[in-house]
């Protein structure tokens, strides 16, 4: 079976034209996978119990994931770049409001609007440059930075995606960390080529322990908690002082989110003596 990645064939708004959009959405295997992945993503969002949340669905496509969100009693707003996929979603009369847009240019919302965000098999598309002006890392960063601002304090974003290789995983994760998220990868069924699913679980609050990936009986678990790795690397490197400009920018970012931030003073970003 020729398993050429869709991402190698065309940009998503071209690949998911009218025919492909319809075929995709009628494929029972795809419907089932999307539903399962959405359920798992909702679980990983760790929403407070018994509330209806306002969620953002990035790369909502034809609404398969959105329908699962609605089934679980939440409200959602979706974004997708393919008009054909959104047309199919309209035909299916999904409950969420949808926007036609490119998440690589950012998510255009006021700060703190969403209780969480999910994305099912979408962000691997951002790892490929579709035009001369696209720089994948920059687009990923724009997405994560604006998403961080759009999320309410303490909420999470969960991205189920299909990375082609380790370099892509590294790029996605590092841009997310740059944007201020903590978190890491959760891998379900790491030993099964067919069942293996990768979830990037991002948190806006302080670091919290990641759940372990699902596994078959007797298989070894494979959860990478990136914040743990970061701590170890910091210890190995010896803590290098962040530059003052970065500190000022981070404070400004957090102010924009509405957080309490200490006013700037002559002490901001000042080198602390050893053993501070």
């Amino acid at each position: 079976m020729s398993s050429k990645r869709p991402e190698h064939q065309a940009p998503p708004e071209v690949y998911y034209g009218e025919d492909e959009a319809r075929k995709y959405t009628q494929n029972t295997r795809i419907i089932e996978v999307q539903e399962k992945c959405t359920e798992r993503a909702l679980e990983l969002l760790a929403l407070p119990p018994d509330i209806s949340a306002m969620l953002l669905d990035l790369g909502c496509g034809s609404g398969l994931s959105g329908e699962a969100i609605t089934e679980n009693g939440h409200y959602w707003v979706g974004m997708d770049i393919s008009p054909s996929m959104l047309d199919v979603a309209l035909e299916r009369e999904v409950e969420g409001d949808m926007l036609l847009g490119d998440i690589g240019t950012g998510v255009p919302f006021r700060p703190g609007m969403f209780d969480g965000a999910i994305s099912i098999s979408a962000i691997q598309w951002l790892c490929y440059a579709d035009s001369a002006t696209h720089r994948p890392a920059k687009r990923l960063y724009k997405l994560f930075m604006t998403l961080f601002a759009s999320l309410s304090r303490g909420s999470r974003a969960v991205f189920q995606f299909y990375p082609e290789n380790d370099a892509q995983v590294e790029m996605v994760v590092s841009q997310a960390m740059r944007a201020g998220f903590t978190g890491g990868l959760v891998v379900d069924f790491p030993n099964s080529t067919k069942a293996k699913k990768i979830y990037l679980v991002l948190m806006t609050g302080g670091a919290a322990p990641l759940p372990s990936g699902l596994q078959e009986e007797g298989a070894a678990g494979s959860t990478q908690a990136l914040y743990q790795r970061r701590e170890r690397m910091k210890q190995m490197r010896g803590s290098r002082q962040p530059k003052k400009a970065w500190i000022m920018q981070k404070k400004e970012r957090r102010r924009k989110q509405g957080r309490d931030v200490r006013p700037n003073s002559k002490y901001t970003g000042r080198r602390r003596p050893e053993r501070f």
């Binding site: 509330i51 209806s52 974004m79 309209l90 409001d97 036609l100 240019t105 950012g106 255009p108 609007m113």
Partner: protein
């Protein structure tokens, strides 16, 4: 597009736009839908809303529906207001028309209820 979504949406993706909020609505076709009333959800969303922008949007589409100009104290207990809010936020939809950025006057068309927020290369 529901008015709830409009209350969250900005044109900030464009470079040189500071706030890009609220977007002006020029509605051509509107419709009403039926959504189950969820009192807890509405009560929880209210503090997140930009009330002035909501009233502005409701006026743009001719659905001000006795929404007060400012959010009254003790709104959690005003069932009448909550029901009206539910209607305005979730049941009133703009089917076609456009959204206009308050800073650049750039128009974002809405068709089939979906706003087209795609930016051109030179706007990013």
């Amino acid at each position: 597009m529901k008015l709830m979504t409009h209350n969250m949406l900005t044109s900030k993706g464009m470079k040189n736009v500071k706030e890009g909020f609220p977007l002006k609505i020029q509605a051509e076709e509107m419709r009403n839908v039926d959504i189950d009333y969820d009192r807890d959800f509405i009560t929880r969303m209210i503090p997140k809303l930009d009330w002035k922008a909501l009233v502005f949007a409701a006026q743009c589409v001719g659905h001000k529906e006795d929404l007060p100009d400012t959010l009254p104290e003790g709104y959690e207990n005003d069932n009448e207001l909550l029901k009206r809010l539910h209607h305005v936020l979730l049941e009133v939809e703009v089917v076609s028309g456009c959204l206009e950025c308050p800073e650049t006057q750039r128009k974002f068309p809405i068709s089939n209820g979906i706003p087209n927020m795609l930016l051109n290369e030179d706007e990013v």
